[in-house]
Symmetry: C2
Subunit: 342 residues, 2 copies
DNA sequence: TTGAAAGCGTTACCAA
DNA sequence: TTGGTAACGCTTTCAA
């Protein structure tokens, strides 16, 4: 029994299958990869042998020989729960049909040079595709490396050079403008704004939309009403506390992410400010939070799973560069409908 | 220039490095793997060559030759946002220090045989370790396969055979008992319970804790108060609606996950039932929801990131089988403190 | 439609 | 402390 390892313990390999089926290993390979030019009868015989031996081709060997990793990488940094979940949910369907695994690489956003870490990973694993989220989506060195390596890549919510690669996003500026305008139409004049993390392009896009809507409505800008956040609950809470402590506090606060909006609600709760009643709160993102919260939160709905699914599609179809805009929509709720200032 | 590919485009390989450094490839391999028996001077020379060439060892080749994949797999099914996020957050630190990537495999819980999918993946990628979450954590066929392959694996919240592998969990039964008892001490007598997804062992553990506390308090069991859920918001909402529609509705509802609790809140909101006031709501899990929700939700705090971090530790230290209990704690809030029935 | 043999880029065994 | 050289399990090129 020098032959293969048809016995119990060891994994069967392609050679075991080939001898069991009485064909060459190349033919087995053809069956594995669903190539043409295999007689149905031969194919059936090979498949039977594979099943009998419980054979699964080694991903490592295929990767080495074939140059395909059978994996794509999702690069993200400190993602919030709903964001991360939405991304993975949006990607997994396509990954399954393409028979590719998903490697989630959470790089350290505040590292010296986050791009270096990501580039290093890319050279080692040489993935079949990469999905980039902010802020690494805007790292030119990473994009260069990907291009040189010929690795397909897609960016979600790019902040710069949107035409350089395939990309998907909502129109963040328009979305923030819409929400701000909706709050204004409800009668609000003093609207606080919580800015997202500095490293993200979308943060300034959203701020721009807010400023734009104020300007259009002829409302003078009060910079005290604009507070820095970092896309997470604690920073939103801190920003909310600063806003509520103002001599003339806002009647509405628009936090440019739902996590920050949740923080604002917590701050209001803590300060004994009634929501709704004395304060309206609006957020930004696609989370069940808005659904679950009571009082409800108005929110800009950004369908992350759809963005991710579209990104997967662009990746596997080797789509042309260019930004695809996914529609957003406003979800206005009672908290804003009952304007404290009105 | 037959030699290697020191030129621009192509990736440098171990051979390029060895000739650049004037050593054998085996020595380069030693440096890569941080083995002993390399003179510091030699090591330095090799490292310089690697840096100059921008060399990164191919993960595929290392995997094939070395039998290590440099990846671990996280197996989970339809995880909620906070759960998924907590798992990944808890695992990533250790993955980074161990220089291992994380493959997230979301299998289909309701597939014909979810275990088959998972087993197939395992044979193909042959990971260095596997973290299993319910319900696949209780799939004996998967555990057998893992054992045969000699792949280290850790289970989170196992439902059966807890001593068979290294595992981590909170004491779900005790936790549910504690929460139920706390509600009883607040004066509640009619306490609704929303059961988790059927396929999860923890669902029955939590139900057992609830029943236990009722029995200890001498409260007769009313099965109308026990409603099936599925660990998500919609099912919680539906269960909440059924409970609130009872002729004699409960004064408190303990949903055995926070997502379901959020659904209960939504149901109460919809039905015009004041929380707190006419209803207290308690949940189960570690989410900022409890923090953000207003009215606040009492909750059993299950620190998922800590469970995951502990799991990673067990994985990489090849720990002995056995269940490690992580302490839970109750977070009681106003909604329960103000007992409607009192 | 099938097969033989040459890689792919490492690690591992055994010598030196 | 170092270096040959055979695996590792597959894909691919070229013949047949």
């Amino acid at each position: 029994m020098v032959e293969g390892a048809t016995q119990s313990g060891m994994r069967a390999n392609i050679k075991d299958v080939s001898s069991a089926a009485g064909v060459s290993i190349k033919t087995v390979s053809r069956v594995i990869n669903n190539e043409r030019y295999v007689r149905p009868a031969t194919r059936a015989r090979v498949e039977a042998a594979m099943a009998a031996l419980g054979f699964r081709p080694s991903a490592a060997a295929r990767a080495l020989a074939g140059g395909r990793a059978f994996q794509i990488a999702l690069m993200c940094s400190n993602p919030g729960p709903y964001y991360l979940h939405g991304l993975i949910a949006g990607l997994r369907g396509r990954c399954a049909t393409e028979r590719v695994q998903l490697v989630v690489h959470a790089y350290e956003r505040d590292a010296d040079e986050p791009g270096a870490d990501v580039r290093s990973l890319l050279r080692q694993m040489n993935p079949d595709g990469v999905v980039l989220t902010p802020p690494i989506a805007d790292d030119l060195a990473v994009l260069d490396a990907l291009e040189r390596a010929g690795t397909p890549h897609v960016r979600i919510s790019p902040g710069v050079a949107a035409d350089r690669t395939p990309a998907v996003a909502i129109d963040n500026e328009a979305a923030a403008r819409d929400m701000t305008q909706a709050l204004i139409e409800l009668g609000h004049r003093r609207i606080g704004f919580v800015v997202g993390h500095r490293a993200y392009g979308v943060s300034s896009h959203r701020l721009a939309g807010y400023l734009d809507a104020l300007r259009a409505a002829g409302i003078a800008l009060d910079l005290d009403l604009v507070q820095q956040g970092a896309f997470d609950v604690p920073s939103g809470r801190a920003a909310g506390e600063r806003l509520l402590a103002l001599a003339e506090p806002p009647t509405a606060i628009f936090a440019s992410s739902d996590d920050m909006a949740a923080g604002v609600l917590a701050a209001a709760n803590r300060a004994g400010v009634a929501v709704p009643g004395r304060l309206s709160v609006a957020g930004f993102d696609d989370t069940p939070l808005a659904e679950a919260l009571w009082p409800p939160l108005s929110t800009v709905r950004q369908p992350i799973p759809e963005l991710a699914a579209q990104a997967a599609d662009l990746l596997f179809t080797h789509a042309a560069p260019g930004l695809r805009i996914i529609p957003h929509r406003l979800v206005m709720r009672e908290s804003s409908a009952a304007c404290p200032a009105a």
